[in-house]
């Protein structure tokens, strides 16, 4: 696989997400939204009632993160990705509603991968545990929904050159499968 670095700005155009390939390194700038387990559960309750979500979805990115509290004078605390698999039950429906990318860590389900192909969307991985490094690319953070969830509240973040890797693309590519197959030394 050919590794290259691509700059992305939000909101994302479908032409752009459709062109991304596994192994591509991306640097994201613009606005992204955060949500984890509890927020996703709440989103689905709203959708089931036919109500508006507190975040826009069209062309947007959701980052699965629960940051540490910001120290005084800082925009955000440490803010690395959480395990995406816990959001697998929710992601396909959000992609069908216009979401173009999610950022997390760890592998996704077949249902998510199919929804990525169907919607020409991508799944991006940020390096788990690289939370202090990633925080440097987050310039502002504002809680816009569910403050009662604490670390799990929904945040609107402005990011500049947020580093991530394309791990599932819209052509069915899966870097977890391809990368591991390449370096496996057992039959």
């Amino acid at each position: 696989m050919e590794d290259k670095t691509i700059r992305l700005s939000t909101p994302l155009d479908e032409d752009i997400t459709a062109s991304l390939t596994i192994g591509d390194r991306v640097l994201i700038s613009g606005v992204i939204y955060t949500a984890r387990d509890s927020a996703h559960k709440r989103f689905f309750e709203l959708l089931d009632k036919g109500e508006e979500l507190p975040i826009p979805l069209k062309g947007q990115i959701i980052y699965f993160v629960g940051p540490t509290p910001a120290k005084p004078g800082r925009a955000i605390g440490s803010a690395g990705p959480t395990t995406s698999g816990r959001m697998d039950a929710y992601t396909p429906r959000l992609l069908d509603l216009g979401l173009k990318a999610t950022i997390g860590k760890g592998q996704r389900s077949d249902e998510v991968k199919e929804a990525l192909i169907r919607n020409k969307a991508v799944y991006l991985m940020a390096v788990g545990g690289a939370a202090a490094l990633i925080a440097r690319s987050i310039k502002s953070s504002e809680v816009i929904a569910y403050p009662e969830f604490g670390a799990e509240a929904v945040r609107k973040m402005e990011v500049v050159d947020f580093p991530a890797i394309v791990v599932n693309d819209s052509k069915g590519g899966d870097l977890f499968v391809e990368g591991v197959t390449k370096y496996r030394k057992t039959s």
Binding site: S78, K105, G128, A135, F176
Partner: protein, 289 residues
């Protein structure tokens, strides 16, 4: 029968709960922000020998990250963990209050003052306790007049990929090895590899899990003193790294920094095996009072 209790407080060494609170507080913050030398060395060595370019990039970010965390005194990972505390209390120590209350108060203050994430909630209602308590405390009474604590903040992503199985004694060591390797394989990129794999063989249901956790917090580079167990550690590490899972599961030569195995005698009918997985942020700090 007449019971006789002699109180010999004057010959015992007193440790105050205030000292315990202060040390636990500062150690929680230090553990979250400053990675130990053993873990730093393991990351650097893995970065330098990684075959996969993507894996190398991931390990470079992880290495840069622990430097930034230490320089800026911020947590290396946003998951500052459930606080696990292994206590060895010398039998000649007199405490002026509750040990558990003191440890929890130290955790409460450390997580608040250190701007650490409060990641503890009720298991059913999922309502956060808001101060990262209660800590999980394992206490052992030992010889001497010291209080030793190992404080290990444990992240949820790696803990979630851990397993426990009650084997039949007839299953034998090969089945146990397959179980360990398969646990790592199924975990894939979820536990933030490269990991430390802690294996507890024997004891009872709960003892196997506790010794697996002991195995996880052992210093990287150490071997089980029993040569036959150390050989199992080496074999398992080679097999785990042959899986190709690599840094963050994207493929590569280092899936685990180490496999540590601890054993304990068990019931003649039983063979419990627990596998506890630790992410690359292998955080543990020792406190001696």
């Amino acid at each position: 029968m007449k019971r006789s209790v002699t109180r010999q407080k004057d010959t015992m060494r007193t440790i105050t709960t205030d000292e315990i609170i202060a040390r636990v507080r500062e150690t929680c913050i230090e553990a979250a922000c400053n990675l130990g030398e053993d873990a730093k060395k393991a990351i650097i060595e893995a970065r330098d020998r990684e075959e996969s370019p993507t894996g190398k990039e991931v390990l470079s970010q992880i290495a840069d990250n622990f430097e930034i965390a230490e320089t800026e005194s911020v947590p290396m990972c946003q998951d500052t963990g459930l606080t696990i505390v292994f206590v060895e209390l010398g039998r000649e120590v007199h405490l002026d209050g509750s040990l558990e209350d003191a440890i929890n108060e130290g955790v409460r203050r450390g997580y608040k003052d250190g701007y650490l994430r409060k990641s503890v909630c009720d298991p059913l209602t999922r309502v956060n306790t808001t101060d990262n308590t209660p800590a999980i405390i394992h206490t052992k009474i030992v010889e001497g007049d010291k209080l030793r604590m190992i404080i290990a903040p444990k992240g949820g992503g790696s803990e979630n990929m851990s397993t426990l199985k009650m084997f039949k004694p007839s299953d034998g060591i090969e089945a146990i090895k397959d179980f360990v390797v398969n646990t790592v394989k199924i975990a894939g990129g979820n536990p933030c590899p490269p990991t430390v794999v802690g294996v507890g063989i024997g004891g009872s249901f709960e003892k196997s899990a506790i010794i697996a956790k002991h195995a996880v917090i052992r210093t990287l580079g150490s071997k089980n003193p029993d040569a036959s167990v150390a050989a199992i550690e080496d074999e398992l590490l080679a097999r785990v790294n042959a899986l190709g899972i690599g840094p963050m599961g994207l493929g590569g030569s280092t899936t685990a920094f180490a496999v540590h195995v601890e054993t304990h005698p068990c019931h003649i009918a039983s063979l419990p095996v627990a596998v506890n997985i630790q992410c690359h942020a292998d955080r543990h700090k020792e406190v001696i009072l």
